[in-house]
């Protein structure tokens, strides 16, 4: 039996919590299948700290990856195109995530 939280009289604000069980993680899985290096991200923020687009907008590449993993795909779609693909992030990533390819793969998967 599934419990429909939205019908409870004391509702939990859907926007304020990550409902991990209900989240659509299929996009994250599709991206990871195409570029497994995304699995290695440990969220250190080296990429976002020096990001060329991140200095000009609220684009945050680390957060993109995290939001994708949490199934908040709409928020990813909103900002993913800000990236200039300059590749500065690749030079910093301590885990060897192929960031440019991951960005392109996310775009590709989102547009499908």
């Amino acid at each position: 039996m599934t419990i429909d939280v939205s019908k409870w009289p004391f509702g939990v604000n859907q926007d304020n919590q990550v409902d991990f069980d209900e989240a659509d993680k299929s996009l994250a899985m599709a991206v990871k299948a195409k570029d497994p290096t995304l699995k290695l991200c440990m969220g250190c923020g080296t990429c976002s700290a020096g990001c060329t687009a991140g200095a000009l907008t609220d684009f945050n590449i680390r957060q993109m990856f995290l939001l994708l993993n949490r199934g908040r795909n709409d928020e990813v779609a909103e900002k993913i195109n800000n990236c200039m693909l300059c590749g500065k992030c690749i030079l910093g990533c301590p885990r060897g995530v192929n960031t440019r390819n991951v960005i392109l793969t996310i775009r590709e998967v989102l547009e499908k």
């Binding site: 060329t52 195109n81 800000n82 200039m84 693909l85 030079l91 192929n98 440019r100 390819n101 392109l104």
Partner: protein
């Protein structure tokens, strides 16, 4: 002399030839129709003006030197060049010589198309009227000195071809002698046509040998030279065939020969040998100033068809030569995919765009540009076009400097990761007393080249216009960048109204030449790593070398300039795995350090970072600016 000579065995040959001519025209017209209006204009402009004379002259020269003599391949490897020359030039000149023999005999330039090919049967010496060959009475000639010379030439050219073929067999088993690895995998059509080409000269020699044997006593001694000398191949081989009792099968051999060559022609348009009829047109258009630039056009189509799949690119590609690497993405495969309309994603994207292949392509195909257009095509299918994507740059709030700089320094995104270069450049500019400003010290905007090489040229325009605005606003007349990727972007993609674009190696050389900077000679043994984007793509090999010769002892490893190695860190690639990149970098580093330099010098932040990653403290790696500052 207009007696009509015919034998049914000419039909396969003639049919094949007509087929290949029609196919060639089909491909030519199709390509010409797809030319860009701008390209058509260029061709027409040249075609109907006096410029056509030098164009034709250099066209003939190039077709002769490259398509027939294969000069570029000779430079690559003597044996490889020799093999190609013997087959291509030998075949061409053999056919040409037989035409001359016929024309001089008939004094009629319009003879049936098949005539010169089967000339040994159709045109017989006096006294051989009733030889075995074909049924109608053939045309007869007196064995003059002229005829003797041409029979000799035929044999000589056939020997060239057969030697070439023999070399190609040696190449198959000992590719190393030809400077090749022999790892190219050809498709079955290509394998078939190589077989046909290999085969068709054998029945020809059998047929010609039988003919000459059947001439019998008509092969007389001329000017004291016996037929076993002037017809050293056909006469002597004929004697062997006659001795084996095969001479009576002469027409059978002519049939087999005709079939082989007919089949060769029919197969040709479906194989790599399509480059033979396409190349002359391709070279002509290039002489008219056409090249594959930013768009894939009919000309690109011709380029693709002109790829002979010789495999030289394959052997140059570091994704092939690096130990442990085995991917089929080289131009030979990529262009084949484009031709068959189905290049897969890996073939198009898994490439460093280092242009090592392009530097030695014997046909001079614009490989990288074709690859980029293919990437664009892929992206069009995958992504919605969104040229407003970077409109946020309008709100970036760039602060003007008041337009009073003489020089504007754009370090480049990557150079922010190698602050040593940035700091050294600032120190050197200060030392030289230059009035300069840093354009990208705070909120930088990418030059756009990473987007372009990934196949997003339209999207990159916004970045280009934003940077253009900032550069022009600086008031500077010279733009200096430390990143060769940016250098090419500014040079090729920007319209900067007379602002001179220089890579820092070029600008430092200018400063030294003008006496504004002094360089002290140190005893350090240095090796210079040519960054692909600066050298092969940017065309700058000498500026860094001039500087390094002044500041140290420059030693040159084997792979320099056009042969320079890619570090593997190229931004043009998104598909290489980390371990593959590391393998390419490690191999390149080992080859650069073969002569044990004290310092490895480069002039690209990406090369520096990538090589450092695998250096394991084996050698000090510096940017040229840091070295000069020391």
């Amino acid at each position: 002399m207009s007696e009509y000579v015919f034998s049914p065995y000419v039909i396969p040959f003639t049919a094949g030839l007509i087929f290949v001519i029609i196919a060639t025209f089909y491909f030519w017209i199709k390509a010409l129709k797809q030319l860009d209006p701008e390209e058509t204009r260029k061709v027409k402009e040249n075609l109907f003006s006096l410029r056509i004379v030098p164009i034709l002259f250099s066209w003939v020269k190039e077709v002769f030197l490259e398509s027939l003599l294969h000069r570029k391949i000779f430079r690559q490897n003597f044996l490889l060049g020799l093999m190609h020359m013997l087959i291509a030039f030998g075949w061409f000149i053999a056919i040409f010589a037989e035409h001359i023999r016929l024309w001089v005999y008939t004094l009629n330039p319009i003879e049936p198309i098949y005539f010169p090919i089967f000339l040994f049967d159709f045109l017989r010496p006096v006294g051989a009227e009733s030889a075995v060959g074909m049924s109608p009475a053939p045309m007869l000639f007196e064995m003059t000195t002229f005829m003797m010379v041409f029979i000799f030439l035929h044999d000589f050219f056939m020997t060239m071809i057969l030697t070439g073929k023999a070399l190609s067999i040696v190449k198959k088993y000992k590719p190393g002698l030809f400077g090749m690895t022999g790892g190219v995998k050809h498709n079955q059509y290509d394998k078939l046509i190589v077989m046909l080409l290999m085969l068709l000269f054998i029945p020809r020699m059998f047929a010609v040998g039988c003919s000459v044997y059947n001439y019998g006593d008509a092969m007389v001694v001329v000017n004291g030279i016996s037929p076993s000398v002037y017809a050293f191949l056909s006469y002597n081989f004929g004697q062997v065939l006659g001795g084996l009792g095969l001479a009576s099968y002469e027409s059978v051999f002519w049939w087999i020969y005709s079939f082989c060559i007919g089949a060769f022609f029919v197969a040709l348009p479906f194989t790599r040998y399509m480059h033979i009829p396409t190349e002359p047109l391709f070279i002509f258009l290039r002489k008219c100033g056409v090249s594959t630039g930013k768009k894939y056009t009919g000309f690109s189509e011709l380029e693709v068809l002109s790829c002979p799949r010789c495999g030289i690119c394959f052997d140059r590609c570091q994704l092939n030569t690096t130990p442990g690497m085995d991917v089929e993405v080289q131009p030979i495969y990529m262009l084949e995919g484009v031709r068959d309309k189905e290049p897969d994603e890996e073939k198009v994207f898994k490439c460093l765009l280092c242009e090592r292949c392009e530097a030695t392509c014997p046909v001079d195909i614009d490989i990288s540009n074709i690859r980029i257009t293919q990437r664009e095509k892929f992206n069009e299918n995958k992504f919605k076009k969104d040229t407003n994507r970077y409109d946020y740059l309008d709100d970036a709030g760039y602060r003007s400097n008041g337009g009073n700089a003489d020089v504007v320094y754009f370090a480049g995104c990557m150079t922010h990761r190698t602050p040593g270069t940035k700091k050294a450049m600032n120190a050197l500019l200060n030392k030289a007393g230059v009035k300069y400003m840093n354009l990208d010290a705070e909120d930088s905007v990418c030059c756009g080249q990473p987007l372009i090489v990934d196949g997003f040229r339209d999207e990159a325009q916004k970045l280009i216009s934003e940077n253009t605005k900032r550069i022009k606003d600086s008031g500077a007349k010279i733009l200096v960048t430390s990143c060769p990727v940016c250098y090419n972007s500014f040079r090729k993609e920007y319209d900067l109204d007379g602002v001179e674009v220089m890579h820092h190696t070029q600008y430092l050389k200018k400063m030294v030449d003008e006496g504004k900077l002094n360089v002290k000679k140190t005893g350090k043994k240095v090796v210079f790593h040519d960054p692909c984007e600066l050298g092969r793509i940017g065309g700058e090999y000498e500026a860094p070398r001039d500087l390094l010769k002044k500041a140290g002892t420059l030693i040159e490893p084997d792979d320099i300039k056009d042969d320079g190695l890619c570090c593997g860190g190229s931004l043009a690639n998104t598909k290489l795995t980390n371990s593959e990149e590391r393998a390419v970098a490690g191999d390149a580093l080992n080859r650069l350090l073969a002569k044990k330099p004290d310092i490895l010098i480069t002039a690209c932040p990406l090369c520096k970072k990538t090589l450092e990653k695998v250096s394991d403290n084996k050698v000090e790696i510096m940017d040229i600016s840091e070295f000069l500052l020391e």
